[in-house]
Symmetry: C2
Amino acid sequence: MTTTEQQTGAAADEQAAAPARPLRADAERNRVRILAAAREVFARRGLEAGLDEIARHAGVGTGTVYRRFPDKTALVEALFDERLDQVVACVKDAVADPDPWAGLCAALESLVAMQIEDHGLKDVIFGEIGDLESFRSRRAEILPLVEQGVRRAIDAGVLRPDVELTDFAAVQVMLVQVAAFAEAADPQVWRRYLHLLLDGLCTRREAPTPLGGPALDLDAFEAACGRHLPAPTTQPSAPTGR
Amino acid sequence: MTTTEQQTGAAADEQAAAPARPLRADAERNRVRILAAAREVFARRGLEAGLDEIARHAGVGTGTVYRRFPDKTALVEALFDERLDQVVACVKDAVADPDPWAGLCAALESLVAMQIEDHGLKDVIFGEIGDLESFRSRRAEILPLVEQGVRRAIDAGVLRPDVELTDFAAVQVMLVQVAAFAEAADPQVWRRYLHLLLDGLCTRREAPTPLGGPALDLDAFEAACGRHLPAPTTQPSAPTGR
DNA sequence: CTTAAGCGGAAGGACTCTCTCCGGATGGAC
DNA sequence: GTCCATCCGGAGAGAGTCCTTCCGCTTAAG
């Protein structure tokens, strides 16, 4: 960690991609494959995925990953820096909707959908990797946007006035979590709860708005509860007795 | 699961507590202390707590824990068998309320409150330890109760009719998760979202019902996001570079 | 052709957690 | 008061996990 030279050099390569010292063709090719593999593996399994898995998936050795990115955090940062730009842009679009209510709905839906399609993104947002600086700044961009969206919707009289910014964030947390919970059983069922929450968030309503798709059936729910034992390896097995 | 003898024997000791062969006085004393320690540690840290920690907290050696309970699962089962009875009773009471709506609210609130006060209970319910038989049967008791409560509330016209049993369960999941998320910042703030969800669940309403306590402030929310690095041991320390 | 850059992947820690083992201590029956 | 079955503590074996390094071989490119 003390030797700074290589790190600075590597970082420059990752971002500027050429100026300092253009990577050898095969190295550049591998860099791209590693990023693609990381994007895919992190999206599917979240940040808990090991670098071995990413290397295997990219068809390179683990050493190759480490020559390009000094450590796991650097890889995550390189990947999600761009990704978070998309999140910001997406939220910006949503809250800019001329209809304040539609804007809030869209922001909520996009945020949850993005995090469910990319579990790595969820983990970054939830700080599962220990406070990435790159996200701290993005959160500072997103929150005021949402704040503005919330205020606008309250002023328009469509959003209940006792809702605060952090409530909106908490609603998003609830949706992401229930979506992750039910994901294996039905990756779309969280939209029911989006509608349910929106019905709770609006100022008043005569009748429930339709929930959208079907609910989970009982078997699917049971399965969602018991999904924590896919481990195919050696269990304590039989001869554990004493 | 294959070796039945010892387990059956041990189980008998734990439950009947005397008939077969009364434990020596000190052993019995330790058994009680272990259970008390486990109750406390599991409640605070969830089932991920190690048996070493429980042993230390009980003031005994780990070997002592293992002599009394053949493995971690047995200890968990011994503890939560009784605990789950309380859950069933509590839900039974709630849905028996003469007011169907009040019954549902009470059931939801109790379920969430119990799981937040006892993270081990939450983990058992969410299957974090691999399908305890003892809970499978309890779930079979609870679900029909809730089902009946839901149906009654729909028939009474207070609960929106497109809600199904698993939706109720999912709502409970959302609340437990958001409660766990915000717990360190404010252990009560989930009640705001209980009210919010209830407003979404009811058939119609003129105005929002009050949310109860205050929302999280921004700092508290930030802290809740970044709470995954309380590790007091050797951090990467300063020279982590960037 | 030469050589520095790059490559794979085995191996080196550094953890974690469950569970076992055994010499020594002790409750309680007689 | 004696004696031994029972129990105790806690070190450590064993089995994982994951991040990171190292080194002999390969290869792009001037």
